[in-house]
Amino acid sequence: MPDTIAITFRDQTHGKIHDFLSDENKQCTYTQSMMGYFSGQLTNYREEGIELNPKILICDDIDAYTLSIPGSIYYNIGEIENNNETYKKILKDCASLTGENWHIYVEPPKNSITKYGVFTYPKTPTSLSIQETVTLNSNIFCSLLRKTSQNTIDITGSKGNSLSLVFSTTRISADKNDHVNKFTEICCKNVKKNPSYTHNHDLAKFKKYLEKTIDYIINNSHGTILICINYKSSIEKIDELKDYIDLKIPIDLYESFYNYEDTKNAESILKLQRCEELLNGLVNCDGIVAFDNCGRIVAYRIFFRPPSPETTTTKIVGGARRRAFEGIKPLIGTKKRLRAALFRSQDGETIKY
């Protein structure tokens, strides 16, 4: 009689989480199985048909964790005895309460009771991100689980260890953050030519901000391509990219960022947040989004049209986005109009060219 074989990622996932927990000095089978469950659930967690992407902090002592974050607050939602339904109930009770600013915390069981709830802290455009806060206090066990692409769950521990669980069969390239970092660096290369530039601006600060913003936005996208064009040039001059929507007045992230930095008032922070929202919207549109290399967004819904299909000699495997990225590559260079491109596939692969 023929056998039916089913393959799951469970064994591999649990094995790697076990290693991760050992490195974090946390030997707890309960925590291990909880993290395994949450990792699987977070890849495609839905309620009422709506996709939710909560970040989950598993922490021995939520009081100690929140103490070190200025202005943080948490609400205890429940205390539950361990059983087969515990993890499910935690997600059911808390996931719909979370969003960009609220996150779930779970305290591993003490006397077989698991405490859980939600927490938040006031964030400014430059403040530490949630994954950075996890590593502030290495004396307590603390791990953050967050979805960073359609099929990737990143786990960060308080002792600085990290684990990426990629639920995919494709080969994973080098560090994603490195690609975003390099792309951002090119987008900031000529910020001194930005009309808002003054000599007292700390450019490293803007670069860090832009990197965080791009990273956050592409993590929440379904895949995209970002390109960086020389500030003196125009998309119009590139034959392959004639189909686009020009932003007559560029969205000047640099100007908005330093307006906030200089004034620190409510109006300037709102303006900056509105710019970020708009960038998020542009990235979620079809097509490519273009930055210039002085920190501005100059065009969106850019579609790549090869001059003649016959000129493509190499065979490209992948969808339209991948084909467009491969087609753009020859247009990039220090002497050319395009300076860089950042590709993000639907399954989370990130490449800077």
Partner: protein, 441 residues
């Protein structure tokens, strides 16, 4: 407290000119920072009884030189020492630092001796008053500066600033600051041992230096700073007053919001070691209060203070009645500047706004100020022996229902008891003693 060890840093003891010299020409001759023509003109103007003219010129040159030297330390560093969160590296020290802030800071850094500091502060009040009269049509123009006041101003400016070839912070201070960022101390290091047994103002200044280094250094220097902070802060934490503890918490919060992860990690270890997270403010709202309070203090110490205090006083009063903990000490100092005024009176218009703030201060908040700030508040202590500010002080403090038993500082308790009993000579003695203690090296 043992004070037998040599001070961590101290001013040079070179005598430029003796206190007994009162001939303007002889004193002016020693002002080597001035051109010969200027020296002659100063002496001639004093001889011609143009006291205000000569004194104002001498004063402006001395302050410009002093501030130039302070600016060489870096604006952010100076901002940390003065607890001025509005300072950044592009702040112009010459415009933003008031004369008395510059004098007080110069004293803390070993540029001026304690006696020069007190004399300069006295001269500053005199200069500010007479310059204000010239600009105020409503003032009594028959009041004029005396020869003694002009000579005294010239002498102390020469002794402290204009008579020195180079105006510099104490050599030991420079070395200590450099070592904090270049070496890692242990509990047994001579610098740490010396600091632990030093008078409070050294500890206070050392904390400000460490926090300034957290904000300005990177890489290996930041690592040294963080390790040194982990050694030094726990050693002095028990002695630290609340304003300095808030200062550490405030820096943590600020660095967190700026996203400076390595600095935050270093400060986190420090706060964890001393269980100091109660001093981390929830937000940076206190900065707005501190800035408004500093604007009042700057106006109070400047020219035309009675007129210029009104606007910042109104701004502070409009910020709301709930003053955040980290800003409380600065706000009460600012309010007291308005309420006590100076030897010539007070600003009635500013007082209306100050009263709004005073009415919202509970006795507990006054106790906090008396315990944590008053013993080191040079600005207020220097007023308590002058008749008009003293009378205002008595009237204000007597109206508050203070629990004397909760005053921890012995001299502060004596001062408050004397105030309640309306014992003016004792108020002067206690105030002067406390003021001298703040300069004790």
């Amino acid at each position: 407290m043992p004070t037998l060890q040599p001070a961590l840093w101290s001013p040079t003891t070179a005598i430029i000119i003796s206190d007994s010299v009162s001939d303007p020409a002889t004193i002016a001759e020693c002002a080597i920072q001035l051109r010969e023509r200027e020296r002659n003109q100063i002496a001639q103007n004093i001889e011609s009884q143009n006291f205000e003219l000569a004194s104002t010129f001498v004063w402006m040159r001395a302050m410009a030189l002093l501030k130039k030297q302070l600016a060489s330390l870096g604006a952010e560093f100076v901002g940390e020492l003065l607890q001025r969160p509005d300072f950044d590296e592009d702040t112009d020290i010459r415009n933003e630092v008031s004369d008395s802030e510059a004098i007080s800071l110069a004293s803390d850094l070993g540029i001026l001796s304690s006696i020069q500091t007190m004399r300069l502060l006295q001269s500053q009040q005199t200069i500010a008053h007479f310059t204000g009269i010239e600009n105020d049509p409503a003032a009594d123009h028959t009041e004029v500066m005396t020869r003694e006041e002009a000579v005294s101003c010239l002498r102390v400016c020469v002794q402290g600033v204009l008579g020195h070839e180079r105006v510099e912070v104490a050599e030991d201070f420079k070395k200590f600051r450099e070592k904090l960022a270049k070496e890692t101390f242990s509990k047994e290091s001579p610098e740490v041992k010396k600091l632990v047994s030093s008078p409070y103002f050294f500890v206070k200044t050392a904390i400000s230096i460490i926090l300034a280094l957290f904000k300005t250094t990177k890489g290996a220097q930041l690592e040294h700073t963080a390790r040194n902070a982990s050694v030094i802060v726990p050693e002095v934490w028990a002695r630290l007053k609340d304003p300095e503890r808030w200062q550490i918490g405030q820096t943590y919060s600020l660095e967190f919001n700026e996203g400076h992860k390595e600095a935050v990690k270093g400060l986190h270890s420090v706060l964890l070691a001393v269980s100091g997270f109660d001093y981390v403010p929830e937000n940076l709202r206190s900065n707005t209060f501190i800035e408004a309070a500093n604007a009042i203090i700057a106006a109070h110490q400047g020219i035309d203070n009675f007129y210029n205090e009104v606007k910042p006083a109104k701004e502070l009063a409009n910020l709301g009645s709930s003053i955040p903990g980290p800003a409380l000490a600065s706000c009460i100092t600012a309010v007291l500047c308005i309420k006590l005024g100076n030897i010539y009176g007070k600003s009635w218009a500013a007082e209306t706004h100050a009263d709004k703030i005073v009415n919202n201060l509970s006795p507990e908040r006054w106790l906090y100020y008396i315990n944590e700030r008053l013993p080191h508040d040079r600005l207020i202590l220097s007023k308590l022996s002058s008749t008009k500010p003293q009378n205002e002080w008595i009237q204000l403090i007597s109206s508050i229902d203070l629990d004397i038993d909760k005053i921890k500082d012995k001299m502060a308790r004596q001062l408050i008891i004397a105030t309640i009993k309306n014992n003016k000579p004792k108020i002067s003695i206690a105030g002067d003693t406390m003021l001298r203690n703040t300069f004790q090296k």
